[in-house]
């Protein structure tokens, strides 16, 4: 089968199995016939993290049972193929929400651990792995191993953010957060440039969730202009008003499907400039307060099915980095706006303290995510230049989004990679678990 990540670039073939039970999964591992193998869940990482070119992939979509919930404490035990959307749909009416959510609710919890995902609340609560206390894993030997902070802690920490290369997660325990209902109290603030973003970010300490959309086509004195959004779960049940994407989805109805707009030409620099400027100017100057549903606040793009198709068959690349200093962000934005290539959708956020080692992405500083249509070679050259800025600044690129980082840059960005690989090799000495990303970055045996 041909598989790709959310960016639809690259596309790699793999022999796929789709287990219904953990017995089927063990059988798939046993019968891999010398090939390498990798778990592929929702396919929501962007690049080649969940691909295993010419190897085997285990589709974990059917390993999705909810096993146990303690309504006193909020601890939930689920199989790894359960998505955050399933958890949210079932548990919000009962007063619980996942502790950390990314920009889409369609990721699985297994993927959330593998990429150690972060959310708009990273500055306050850390990343997904901070709220997981136990993993049950199928390891390379075929044994099922339970690991946590006390039992096989090295396997636990290598798997949190381990990009699926330490084994296949069968189930995990995650702590849900109590909420009053689906409402979010939110404020949006128009910021005219990068300095204003940092000012607003610094004075948003009272908010659990912060993120800013940024116009990455605007340059000069407008560099870094955008809309800062901050919010928190409402403390009591309140009414909410529909968000802009909800309204758009409602208007489009069944046409709210990116596949209907699939084109390699729709998103070009001119349309992206207009789109970004329109979004910026639509936002009133100053501050707007409103109460919204969690969907438009956390998952605005989920309103459009298959939105990744609007970039056309060429696919797109998301470049997400974190850098410790503000100056590097300015350098990156200047580098991007100096080219004829543009990022359609860009977000910026300040991270909190570092909570993990190994291959986990978040570290203190400013994270910037840019979505580029796959312009081919010129884009790859631009991204190489951005890598140099990021690496020099002591920052790093997010592997969950990556499709093209080179090995030398990776090693500079993730200085703990060797310790991580030692743990990996100990649990998988023959390199049973591999991915296209793992081979590209030299993370697995023989690469």
């Amino acid at each position: 089968m041909e598989l790709s990540g959310w960016g639809r670039y690259p596309v790699h073939g793999a022999r796929c199995a789709r287990p219904e039970t953990r017995g089927d999964l063990q059988q798939a591992l046993a019968e891999r016939n010398g090939d390498s193998i990798l778990a592929h869940a929702a396919g929501r990482s962007y690049g080649d993290a969940a691909l295993n070119e010419d190897g085997r992939a285990v589709l974990t979509e059917r390993l999705d049972r909810m096993l146990e919930f303690d309504p006193e404490t909020g601890w939930l035990r689920v199989e790894a193929g359960v998505t955050l959307k399933e958890i949210i749909d079932i548990f919000v009416p009962r007063g619980w929400f996942p502790p950390v959510v990314p920009g889409t609710q369609y990721v699985t919890v297994g993927g959330a651990v593998g990429c150690n995902i972060h959310g708009k609340n990273h500055h306050q609560v850390g990343s997904f792995g901070d709220h997981v206390r136990r993993l049950e894993m199928l390891t390379a030997s075929g044994d099922i191993v339970t690991c946590d902070r006390d039992n096989h802690p090295e396997l636990f920490w290598a798997t949190v953010g381990g990009m699926g290369l330490t084994g296949i997660i069968l189930s995990l325990e995650v702590q849900l957060e109590p909420v009053a209902g689906p409402a979010i109290e939110m404020e949006s603030i128009r910021v005219e440039n990068l300095d204003e973003f940092f000012e607003v970010s610094a004075e948003s300490g009272d908010f659990t969730h912060t993120v800013s959309w940024i116009d990455c086509v605007a340059s000069g004195s407008n560099l870094g202009r955008g809309v800062f959004m901050r919010g928190r779960h409402a403390s009591e049940e309140v009414e909410w008003s529909p968000g802009p994407m909800e309204k758009l989805a409602k208007t489009l109805k069944s046409a709210a499907d990116g596949r209907l707009f699939e084109s390699n030409w729709l998103l070009n620099r001119a349309t992206m400039r207009i789109g970004n400027a329109a979004y910026f100017h639509k936002e009133p100057k100053g501050k707007t307060e409103q109460i919204v549903h969690y969907e438009p606040f956390f998952f605005p793009l989920d309103a459009i099915d298959h939105w990744n198709h609007i970039y056309g068959s060429r696919g797109f690349l998301q470049y997400q980095c974190v850098v410790p200093e503000r100056e590097a962000i300015r350098e990156i934005l200047e580098e991007v706006t100096a080219t004829s290539m543009a990022s359609f959708l860009s977000v910026i956020k300040e991270f909190g303290p570092r909570t993990h080692t190994g291959l986990s992405f978040p570290e203190p500083g400013i994270t910037l995510a840019l979505d580029f249509p796959n312009y081919g070679e010129p884009l790859m050259e631009l991204l190489d230049r951005l890598d140099a800025i990021v690496a020099t600044a002591g920052g790093r690129v997010y592997l969950g989004k990556d499709a093209r980082l080179d090995r030398q840059s990776f090693r500079k960005m993730y200085p703990e990679w060797e310790e991580w690989r030692d743990v990996r090799d100990e649990w998988d000495p023959d390199g049973v678990f591999q991915s296209s990303l793992g081979r590209r970055l030299g993370l697995v045996k023989g690469s």
Binding site: M1, C16, A17, R18, E20, T21, R22, G23, D24, R62, R65, M66, L67, E68, F69, E79, E86, I90
Partner: protein
């Protein structure tokens, strides 16, 4: 109301379980693998906030079937709907080489299914209420060289259900025979088919609706009735020459 799923880890049975649970019914999930059965039960209980339990059964432990149904009924009360959905489908060619495989196919899919249906029907007839939903297959409508051990067992099960329905009629016990076409399960995973493959959830919706309307037999999806009508109408002198 209580629903028993036999072969609860089969995607069709599991989806049927979720469908009934979404209407508030209690579920007993039974499977050869007790841990998996319990996982299915916990999942149903958590998602739908209903009572659910899971446990082990083996289609080939004929002597245990009566006790097993007693255990189920002591856990979730009298079984109102029993979904008989377990089955095995080993490779046809290997089964021709090794009759042990063929025999197992026949015994699990037919003899085991009939034995469990008997144990359930007896109780339902006594209570003058209940429904048995048996999952047969379109493969049971006509024997083909590519799949005749599986097909003959499913065909026998269909005839069994027909007879049982006749016996149960005066006792207000419903017997529904379901003949699924291509459903997105391990049996069809990776298959390239000209006929669309439907999801287990869609099948479950149709099956539960048919059961609640009191139907006797059904194809899912419905258009398989037409496909099988054509296949059944091909004269045998021609059919035997086809490579099906």
């Amino acid at each position: 109301m209580s629903v028993l799923l036999l072969g609860a880890t089969s995607p069709i049975a599991e989806a049927i379980g979720h469908r009934y649970a979404s209407q508030g019914h209690a579920i007993y999930a039974a499977s050869r693998d007790a841990d998996e059965a319990e996982a299915v039960a916990s999942d149903i209980a958590l998602r739908h906030d209903v009572e659910a339990a899971g446990g082990h059964f083996d289609a080939l432990e004929f002597d245990r079937h009566d006790d097993f149904v007693d255990e189920v009924e002591s856990a979730v009360g009298p079984v109102d709907v029993a979904v008989v959905a377990f089955g095995v489908m080993p490779d046809q060619k290997e089964s021709q080489e090794n009759f042990k495989l063929a025999r197992r196919t026949i015994e699990v899919n037919y003899t085991g299914a009939a034995s469990l249906c008997e144990a359930l029907a007896r109780r339902m007839i006594d209570r003058e209420t209940g429904a048995i939903v048996g999952i047969s297959s379109v493969a049971g409508d006509r024997g083909r060289q590519s799949n005749y051990f599986y097909g003959s067992a499913k065909g026998a099960f269909r005839l069994y259900l027909q007879g049982l329905r006749n016996r149960c009629f005066e006792h207000d016990v419903q017997v529904l025979c379901v003949k699924p076409g291509f459903v997105d399960t391990p049996m069809t995973f990776g298959m390239e088919t000209a006929i669309p493959i439907v999801s287990p959830e869609d099948v479950a919706d149709s099956v539960v609706r048919a059961q609640q309307k009191g139907k006797d037999t059904m194809y899912v999806p419905w258009f398989w009735a037409w496909i099988m009508l054509i296949i059944k109408s091909i004269p045998e002198p021609i059919f035997k020459r086809l490579s099906l």
